[in-house]
Symmetry: C2
Subunit: 334 residues, 2 copies
Amino acid sequence: MLMKNATQAKPHDRLAAYLESDMAEVGTLIRARMASEHAPRIPEVTAHLVEAGGKRLRPMLVLAAARMCGYDGPYHVHLAATVEFIHTATLLHDDVVDESQQRRGRPTANLLWDNQSSVLVGDYLFARSFQLMTEPGSMRVMKILSNSAATIAEGEVLQLTAAQNLKTDEGIYLQVVRGKTAALFSAATEVGGVIAGAEDATVKALFDYGDALGIAFQIVDDLLDYQGQADTTGKNVGDDFRERKLTLPLIKAVAKADAEERAFWERTIEKGRQEDGDLEQAMALMVKHGTLEATKADALGWAQKANAALAPLPDHDLKTMLLDLSDYVVSRVS
Amino acid sequence: MLMKNATQAKPHDRLAAYLESDMAEVGTLIRARMASEHAPRIPEVTAHLVEAGGKRLRPMLVLAAARMCGYDGPYHVHLAATVEFIHTATLLHDDVVDESQQRRGRPTANLLWDNQSSVLVGDYLFARSFQLMTEPGSMRVMKILSNSAATIAEGEVLQLTAAQNLKTDEGIYLQVVRGKTAALFSAATEVGGVIAGAEDATVKALFDYGDALGIAFQIVDDLLDYQGQADTTGKNVGDDFRERKLTLPLIKAVAKADAEERAFWERTIEKGRQEDGDLEQAMALMVKHGTLEATKADALGWAQKANAALAPLPDHDLKTMLLDLSDYVVSRVS
């Protein structure tokens, strides 16, 4: 896809254009590996999600890191497909856990088929991702990716036990976010460097970039839950409040609550007794304490950390796009 | 554990006694790896299942195969823990899929905690199993175990789509059973041989033994659903009928049904309109067509195949126990 004015295009579109032929191979590999000789339900469910038009940010991070480090072998494609399979498996399981009805503006698989199919097809994609990650034959790559899968699950369980609990603080929030989101971003950029044989300092820089980008990405996502428009985010404003999730804007508001406000949070979040007007009251408290602004500042800080990590690497078109990507991710709430 | 009369003890107890020190190491490794620094819910849920007193047949198969082939390194312990983690993860997810309330005579994790915890802790154990399987550094072992995880999930999805469908025949049943049960048995015995550096014919014999043992094991399990006592199996007679599962005794009865019987199966299994007395009628039809006996004969046939596969291997105490194990598995319904 050629851009008339490449510098004006969104960074992930510029990445997609630059990596177009690699991404075509990733798509071919994903379609080949999501097939199942015996169980046609598997590709049906997977295709619903894979072809729903996600941005495929995670596989592009693998490819961009590998290409930036001069890789010209075939295996960045396998690793890109691996992270997309892990991501798709976690989406299927998340929608069961959250009892979601919509994902990317379409009905979720658990709604179209059933929870059983979502659980089991997710398991199949996890297993497929592990088959794929063995193919490059690199022990280091396998360790990074299998560790990231464990960290993701750990973050999801931690999120489950932190929900509805007003003791959840910014430290626990960061652990959850590092697990459920940043672990796969950082594994993606790290294995890109490793497969290219980059030196340790470069691999570390790529890991740090992915980690900080993932954290910024999730903080913005949590902020958009209170500030976004349903037509651009595909989510309804206040879903996290209704589901009593302790995300950063709310955690910051709870930390500044006086006695009366604390009683409000205990009723709505801990006890879950929500009434008409409570979302508006919650948002008024966030505005009063400036926690939406403070959350935005945190996201900007993480985007800056991401870019500081990449700064020492040599100039490259892909490096420019990755730097712009961090800025773009937080610009959604700027 | 010392036996007064070792040849009279049940074969899995003799295996447990012979492999006692290896199994102690497996237990230590399992406890170490099911820990989670950040999410205490994980070891709580896992311990509920791991310490519920399962027979740990699958890890013993790894250890027995490796020791029979003269292995004296440390990694059979990692591989035994790997298959137990995969097994435990599938149990957690199965109980969500089947909406089970009891497992090994205790309330299931989905009942004690919630479906969310069962899904996510299962994912964590899958990821942990993949971390463990990389540790011996054998590509061949990783391929066998990651393939088996994919085959298990595929078998579970196939079972889901085959349920309530009277077109499910013995061929599809065998595919389901090979996936959901035999794939992990055969991977267990196969990786035991591979890690020991056994020659190809021996590895093939171990695979064939595990495959046939797993099939016999599952056929017996399905038969006990109609013939067993709730106090020995921990299941209620007729659960599979009530859940409209097409298992071998039922598939054989459907194949022999006349028009009136066919209408009965269509009402009870396809449409799920079950009434008092239907289970008794279903069992009467199985007796009429001799399908319980025929199913038992199939199980015996698979146990014989398992033992025929092992026959060419050199004499060994563990070989004797494995041969006795196949006989014992089917003796539960003899």
